[in-house]
């Protein structure tokens, strides 16, 4: 079970959160988009192997939405940031831990 850092409440179990998919996809002005552009907004999201900026909501706690970087392979969690703030840089590659390192 992931432990997710809520920017307001601190580390909590993932069962207190809901996932909100890729961060940074703003709601567009629907009427300026072609059908296919609109359908793309509705249904298409990046699904990278590795770091992804995601939206989460602490539904069972403070109820606030926030964003965080998460590595979809290692489950590492990177910087957390609030909506309408500057997105921090994507974290670097993780160091494989082991003997001699």
């Amino acid at each position: 079970m992931l432990n997710i850092p809520c920017p307001h409440c601190g580390l909590r179990n993932e069962t207190e959160f809901h996932y909100g998919a890729e961060a940074g996809v703003a709601y567009p002005d629907p009427n300026t988009l072609t059908d296919s552009e609109w359908a793309k907004y509705l249904h298409i999201r990046a699904n990278p192997k590795g770091w992804l900026a995601e939206r989460w909501v602490h539904f069972a706690g403070c109820g606030r939405w926030f964003n965080l970087w998460r590595n979809t392979i290692t489950h590492e969690i990177g910087p957390v940031y609030l909506p309408f703030t500057t997105q921090p840089k994507m974290p670097g590659n993780t160091v494989q831990e082991g003997p001699g390192k």
Binding site: N3, Y27, D35, W38, R55, W65, H75, E97
Partner: protein, 899 residues
């Protein structure tokens, strides 16, 4: 230690309280405990703990848990068990023992209370940290316990430290990301019949640790030779422990076969306990060290470059003699023994480390896979990290070369009866990956998950080349790589994972303030999400049909009352509240006058209907939204998502008041008259209090909000009051209603009444793919404003023909209530080119209507709105019903009754 009587396979034996059942059985002479699962060969105890592959038992006493190794069961008053052939049986009766779980946060978790674990715990304590120390043994000390030795005083001080919590009989079963550990603590079986009934038998610990120190220790390895499974062949450390610590006196003559100095230490223990050790056969070319010197000084013959090739049994199937082979000359000779103590080296317990993806590394020097991991969060120590403590000096040797016939009875996985022969067949079939071989041979898939067999498999693969069996010569275990283990490290009973979440505690039961009244009134309940709602109120002798018909008639002809408190309610305030609702709902709310209510529909951005309900404007900047019973939480989350992540400029706050406000629906032509007896401070007349209006009033001084909202098409009033007043108001209505024959009704009648009017239930009449247009609700879709979902209505696939549309359906036979979910096909449809009859829709709601005097239904039918009057077929099993598509509003199309 006190002597007690226990039962095994229906016979009574003497045992010492707290000793392993395996020890007690051996002392009582039960060398052979069971037969093997597939080959039916006699088997006895091999090991000391959870690695035991043979001696599986089922409890007869207590919970009747099965597949427990006799090596981990402690003898206690009242213990009764029987042997298993490796296949357990679930008892018929449910396990009524108490199981629970707890959550624990700690600075440092140390897994394993052997010397390394205790030392690490001491260091952590000195650094000022709080430590949780867990170990699966009944006491601390690890190998010291097997030697019968006490703890050094420094380590006793560690155990006594106030910042240390030590849990015995507590096994870490899984290590997960972010230092999350699941452990199971066995808390009552060892107390036997003295265990208090309220004591949890197994407690599941959910542990979050700042740091983890892994000191799980190691298992001793067996060796591969022909007939290596006979009772009397044991791991040397286990044999020496049972003999010296547990007083097992059944062995007279022993042979020790070894690849390291551990065999010498165990030989010496056996020798000192009076067992005649014939010789130590050491696969190495020579050995040195204090244990070798001591064995030699004790007069135990030692022979190098020799190993066990084969064994023979006596009439009972137990070990009788051992064939020794000179590894250089290949000469063999036989020697009698009733105990063969095997020391094949150590296999450190890498399981937990591999759970989180750490790859163990082969050490030729240790003849073992090790995990040397040192980070801020997790470190390893003790045998896992290569600290074997003494002068072990093991060689990489897994057994002598065996011919095809010998390989057939050279067991690698005793529990699965998987042999070297099976392994060779797997390799012969072209498999080379250890993970593939595991699945082909089933090695490592039994209850012990390869604790002793995993390393043997790797070793055997490496030696296949030497045996000329087509393997790669010179292959090292480093090349083969180790198995990766998955949680759980030991089997966990499902009942322990369920814990207290059984029966009524398995999931929350949500109830309204009127629940107790409903119970007393004999309501039959329906689960609506987590809510318990009255389904119908049957009078004595009434069937469900009778009750629903009576309730429907009361609502249509007299007056009836329903508990609608489960509706979701959200208080919405702020200068932009009206603008916000205009964007959320498909229809307009900014035009709604204060004190009035409006039905609204909301869609997701993809244009699909998501929730509905009535929203009341309480003030200029103040609304009260109601949602569906199941939708309350997700609608509030939806509103918050838009406010927080898209429209932070909107000045609006949303607050859940679902359980602050109770709602009683009073329905029927006589509802006004009845309510006017209770509510005297406002005018309830049609003109003073029009439909879809809301008024504040009082009932006996209790502030209430009354709204003229109808989900049945009848004249109806909703009485809203604070949760704690609901029972009082309901009782008052009930008392006054006696002269009106006031009838309580449940959700089934509510469904009939709303369906007769064509009112939808989202989630029943929709399946997550309907737009408002599909539901024939274009009237509620505003053309004047922008709202969530609007753009999607222009998408070609939502405008296309052939979409399912909501219509009414009248079965030809008016007594035939079509089952909900039934498929609809075109009239007299013929199979298509695939031999299938295509369906054209399905029934979403279906009831018998007392008002119509016949059965009716709602259905989603392809292009249904343009197929009015068309006959369709509804196949039900072998029957074919016919029905006519019609408008979804069955009664009072003119909306006269609601006034």
């Amino acid at each position: 230690m006190s002597e007690i009587i226990f039962s095994f396979d229906d016979k009574m034996y003497k045992g010492q309280h707290g000793e392993p059942l395996a020890a007690a059985l051996l002392r009582n002479g039960l060398l052979s405990i069971t037969n093997s699962t597939y080959h039916g060969r006699p088997r006895g105890v091999v090991g000391l703990g959870v690695e035991e592959p043979n001696a599986l038992v089922q409890l007869v006493s207590g919970t009747q848990e099965s597949m427990l190794p006799a090596t981990v069961i402690e003898v206690a008053e009242g213990l009764s068990a029987r042997s298993l052939t490796g296949i357990g049986a679930l008892p018929d009766a449910p396990d009524e023992a108490r199981y629970d779980k707890t959550n624990c946060y700690v600075d440092t978790l140390v897994i394993g209370a052997g010397l390394a674990g205790l030392k690490a715990a001491g260091e952590e304590l000195r650094a000022g940290r709080e430590v949780l120390l867990i170990d699966d043994q009944p006491g601390p000390g690890g190998h010291l316990r097997h030697l019968g030795a006490g703890l050094p005083s420094a380590l006793q001080d560690v155990l006594a430290h106030q910042n240390l919590t030590y849990l015995s009989r507590c096994t870490a079963t899984g290590l997960y990301d972010q230092n999350y550990v699941i452990a199971i603590e066995r808390r009552s079986d060892h107390l036997g019949s003295a265990a208090p009934a309220n004591r949890a038998r197994i407690r599941v610990w959910h542990i979050r640790a700042g740091q983890i120190v892994l000191t799980p220790g190691a298992f001793q390895r067996p060796l591969i030779f022909a007939n290596n499974d006979r009772p009397g062949i044991m791991l040397s450390h286990a044999a020496a422990t049972y003999v010296t610590v547990n007083g097992v006196r059944i062995f007279r003559t022993a042979v020790v076969t070894t690849v390291d100095n551990q065999g010498y230490r165990d030989a010496l223990r056996l020798h000192n306990a009076g067992v005649q050790v014939q010789a130590i056969y050491d696969a190495r070319p020579g050995a040195k060290g204090s244990s070798v010197d001591a064995a030699s000084a004790a007069g135990i013959p030692i022979r190098f470059r020799a190993a066990v090739l084969d064994t023979a049994s006596n009439a009972e199937g137990a070990l009788h003699s051992v064939t020794i082979q000179d590894l250089d000359t290949k000469d063999a000779f036989e020697i009698t023994a009733d105990l063969l103590a095997v020391s094949g080296g150590w296999t450190p317990i890498v399981d937990l480390a591999t759970h989180i993806g750490i790859k163990p590394k082969w050490s030729e020097e240790h003849a073992a896979f090790l995990v040397n991991h040192f980070t801020d969060k997790l470190r390893t120590a003790g045998m896992l990290a290569g600290d074997f403590g003494g002068d072990d000096d093991p060689s990489v040797f897994f057994g002598p070369a065996l011919d095809a016939e010998q390989a057939r009875y050279a067991y690698i996985d005793l529990q699965r009866d998987a042999t070297l022969h099976d392994l060779r067949r797997g390799v012969g079939a072209g498999l080379s990956s250890i993970e593939h071989i595991k699945r082909y041979t089933t090695i490592g898939t039994a209850h012990d998950q390869g604790k002793t067999s995993g390393m043997l498999t790797i070793g055997a693969l490496c030696q296949l080349g030497d045996a000329g069996q087509g393997g790669k010569p010179g292959l090292s275990p480093a090349d083969v790589g180790t198995l990766s283990f998955r949680p759980p490290y030991v089997p966990i009973p499902f009942v322990a994972l369920a814990g207290r979440e059984r029966g009524e505690l398995s999931d929350p039961i949500r109830i309204t303030p009127l629940h107790q009244w409903h119970v007393e009134a004999g309501a039959v309940f329906e689960d609506v999400g987590q809510w318990k709602r009255p389904w119908y109120f049957a009078k004595p002798g009434e069937s469900m049909e009778d009750a629903v018909r009576r309730e429907c008639i009361a609502a249509r002809e007299g007056v009836a009352v329903m508990d609608a408190s489960t509706l979701g309610k959200i208080d919405i305030q702020g200068p932009d509240a009206a603008v916000f609702l205009d964007r959320i709902y498909t229809n307009m709310f900014s035009t709604l006058p204060e004190g009035q209510c409006r039905y609204g529909l909301m869609c997701k951005a993809d244009g699909i209907v998501f929730d509905d309900g009535v929203t009341t404007r309480l003030g200029k900047n103040h609304f009260l939204m109601t949602t569906t019973t199941g939708g309350a939480a997700r609608v509030l989350a939806w509103l918050e998502e838009w406010l927080q992540t898209e429209w932070p400029d909107l000045k609006v706050y949303c607050t859940s008041v679902t359980e602050h406000i109770s709602t009683i629906a009073l329905v029927g032509p006589k509802s006004r008259q009845l309510l006017s007896e209770l509510v005297t401070d406002i005018d309830l007349s049609k003109d003073a209090f029009p439909f879809m209006h809301s008024r504040m009033a009082t009932i006996d001084g209790i502030p209430v909000r009354i709204a003229r909202i109808s989900f049945s098409g009848e004249l109806a009033f909703e009485v809203n009051a604070e949760w704690g007043y609901a029972r009082y108001i309901w009782e008052r209505l009930w008392a006054l209603g006696r002269s009106y024959d006031l009838t309580a009704y449940g959700t089934e009648t509510m469904h009939v009444l709303r369906a007769e009017k064509g009112y939808i239930i989202i989630g029943q009449d929709t399946d997550g793919t309907q737009t408002p247009h599909d539901l024939n609700m274009s009237w509620i879709v505003s053309k004047k404003k922008e709202f969530i979902g609007k753009r999607s209505f222009q998408l070609p696939y939502l405008k296309a023909t052939g979409r399912p549309q909501l219509v009414g359906l009248l079965p030809e036979d008016g007594d035939e209530v079509i089952p909900e979910g039934a498929y609809i096909t075109a009239l007299n449809a013929r199979p298509d080119e695939h031999g299938k009859i295509p369906h054209t829709g399905f029934v979403t709601s279906s009831y018998y209507s007392p008002a119509l005097g016949r059965a009716f239904a709602l259905a989603l039918v392809a292009d249904g709105l343009s197929r009015m009057g068309e006959m369709v077929d509804v196949p039900i099993g072998k029957k074919l019903l016919s029905a006519t598509i019609c408008d979804a509003v069955f009664i009072d199309k003119e909306n006269i009754r609601r006034d």
